[in-house]
């Protein structure tokens, strides 16, 4: 089943329809200590069904760029479109689901209650909500936990619930800002594996912020390397790895070659300091 869907969406992938397009995007924060140039001259195209990682040292504007795509920040230069629309319009059309670094589940709602939060706001019927909650909880391997409260779950499970929440409505873009950053490496490995599976099953376009090189290489079809002050892109790497990736692919020469290039890109960015 999954293989079939994957085949279908790989065919679609060939059409390479652009979902997110940035042309010379710049973003300056006005702060009390003067302007902070968080992004400068960001140009990038993200096609439908791609898995794009943003990697770079902290403060290089990864979060800011992801938030700009989500219309939570507004570029001060250049142009940015999501599904051919202004980000604000795309946000109003609920074009994306956003996963923050902290799960941010409501402590007063059960896991199922949390997952159906966007569905209530969007106005799905009760029956449809129940059906979707059951489906996405299964997707993130949390079936049976719907009635539990967040504090009864481990950090990794809470983050999975927050991913389920972002998947519950029909946004075809998933934006994730260091979603596994606060988790230990073993949990992280498993969630990475599951995320790839989920991506294959849903065909979503994913924007993923990380500062782990192996994580970026393992997950992505495209790796965007960024550097700070001002935040800009130093390298864009198209992955040559196959779409189906067992965990031990991380020991293959191909994987190591890509990781090496990412590291070079990060070093080049630092040379400016």
């Amino acid at each position: 089943m999954a293989a079939f869907r994957r085949a279908g969406f790989e065919l679609k992938d060939l059409s390479a329809e652009t979902v997110i397009e940035a042309k010379g995007v710049g973003l300056v924060f006005q702060t009390d200590d003067g302007p902070v140039e968080a992004l400068k001259g960001i140009s990038l195209k993200i096609g439908r069904g791609e898995f794009v990682s943003f990697i770079g040292p902290s403060g290089c504007g990864k979060t800011t760029f992801l938030r700009a795509i989500a219309a939570l920040e507004h570029p001060t230069a250049g142009s940015l479109t999501v599904n051919g629309m202004a980000p604000d319009e795309a946000r109003r059309k609920r074009a994306y689901g956003y996963v923050f670094q902290a799960a941010g589940l409501y402590p007063w709602r059960t896991i199922a209650g949390n997952v159906q939060l966007p569905l209530e706001i969007i106005g799905f019927s009760r029956a449809e909500r129940a059906e979707r909650v059951a489906r996405v909880l299964k997707l993130v391997d949390l079936d049976g936990f719907g009635k539990k409260f967040p504090w009864q779950l481990s950090g990794g499970m809470q983050q999975r619930a927050s991913i389920a929440r972002a998947l519950a409505f029909d946004a075809d873009i998933l934006l994730m800002d260091e979603p596994f950053g606060a988790l230990d490496e073993i949990v992280r490995d498993r969630l990475n594996e599951e995320l790839l599976k989920l991506w294959a099953e849903t065909g979503k376009t994913i924007g993923f912020v990380t500062h782990s090189i192996p994580e970026a290489v393992y997950l992505s079809t495209k790796i965007v390397v960024m550097s700070p002050r001002p935040g800009r892109i130093t390298d864009v790497i198209e992955s040559t790895l196959p779409r189906v990736r067992p965990l031990d692919i991380r020991d293959s020469p191909e994987f190591l070659a890509i990781a090496h290039r990412v590291r070079e890109g990060l070093r080049a960015g630092h040379a400016y300091d």
Partner: protein, 298 residues
């Protein structure tokens, strides 16, 4: 069980202190009386007399407890005007006066809480209200309630409003403020990330209020309700002090001091304190149930 022991220890210490103070404060009167009668008094006589005067400066704890018992159970059950014999509460019993105070307190508390919550909703959603209402709310609490209460009573009496309502207004005046402050903080408790999350769903302000701000504010609500209900009780009692009030714990305090009935004053005070403690405990019990239902352990 663990929490009972410290409470009992403190209570014991207070009672001992109280007895000590009773002896010290009332001894002068005992000596004066003895001097007038031309007799010598020893320590044991002073001790006995100071703890059993009819109009002591400070009544002994057992005198106050006896008065409480007398003016509640005994009065209602055996008194000619008690509920057992007359069918209505006796106007000499603290149960009657306590009930009068309690009903005004509850009405004022309901008013005050409603007003506090409404103003907090406005302040959180409107910059203009934030800037204009808050200073006035703070100013309102700097005016001494003892100065305002008689004016409210007199002004309202002159347009024919008497009894429960004026006292409830004073109670509301005192209790809206803690609720307002607590709820503004509660409605603002959600952090930027939680607000951003709802923004990604394109949630409206109304949706954000009901789904995020209101539930987040519940712990703050209960904290302020505990302060607010005690403030409402104080407000009601103050509202019963100005001349004219014939019922309520405040009126009992006042009539006690008119006639030098210190024991009656202390009994009324103790009744008011018990009432306050009971009300705060009820709010606490509701808090535990509500937070428990919401999956948050209080």
């Amino acid at each position: 069980m663990k929490s009972v022991l410290p409470i009992l220890t403190v209570l014991m210490a207070l009672v001992v202190l109280w007895y000590g103070a009773t002896v010290l404060l009332n001894a002068q009167w005992t000596r004066d009386q003895a001097a007038r009668a031309g007799v010598e008094v020893g320590f044991s006589e002073i001790l006995r007399d100071t703890l059993s005067q009819t109009r002591p400066k400070l009544p002994a704890p057992h005198q106050v407890v006896a008065e409480l018992w007398q003016s509640t159970w005994m009065e209602e059950v055996y008194g000619r005007r008690g509920i057992v014999q007359s069918g209505t509460l006796s106007n000499r019993s603290l149960i009657y006066h306590g009930w009068v105070t309690l009903s005004a307190t509850m009405l004022g508390f309901a008013f005050g809480t409603g007003l506090g919550i409404l103003l907090a909703v406005g302040i959180v959603h409107s910059k203009a209200m934030d800037l204009s209402v808050m200073p006035w709310a703070i100013a309102s609490q700097t005016v001494p309630i003892l100065a305002i209460a008689p004016m409210v009573i007199v002004v309202l009496a002159s347009i024919g409003i008497k009894g429960l309502i004026p006292k409830a207004i004073i109670a509301a005046y005192l209790s809206f403020f803690p609720v307002l402050v607590g709820m503004v903080k509660g409605f603002r408790a959600p952090d930027a990330m939680q607000l951003d999350l709802l923004k990604t769903y394109n949630a409206s302000r109304v949706g954000t209020f009901w789904r995020l701000r209101l539930p987040s504010s519940v712990p703050y609500l209960f904290a302020s309700l505990k302060v607010g209900i005690a403030a409402a009780l104080v407000g009601t009692i103050v509202g019963e002090l100005p001349a004219g009030a014939s019922a309520g714990l405040g009126a009992r305090l006042l009539s006690g001091s008119y006639y030098g009935q210190t024991i009656q004053i202390w009994a009324a005070l103790l009744a008011a304190a018990t009432l306050a403690a009971g009300l705060v405990m009820i709010v606490g019990a509701v808090e535990r149930v509500v937070l428990g239902r919401m999956g948050m352990r209080a």
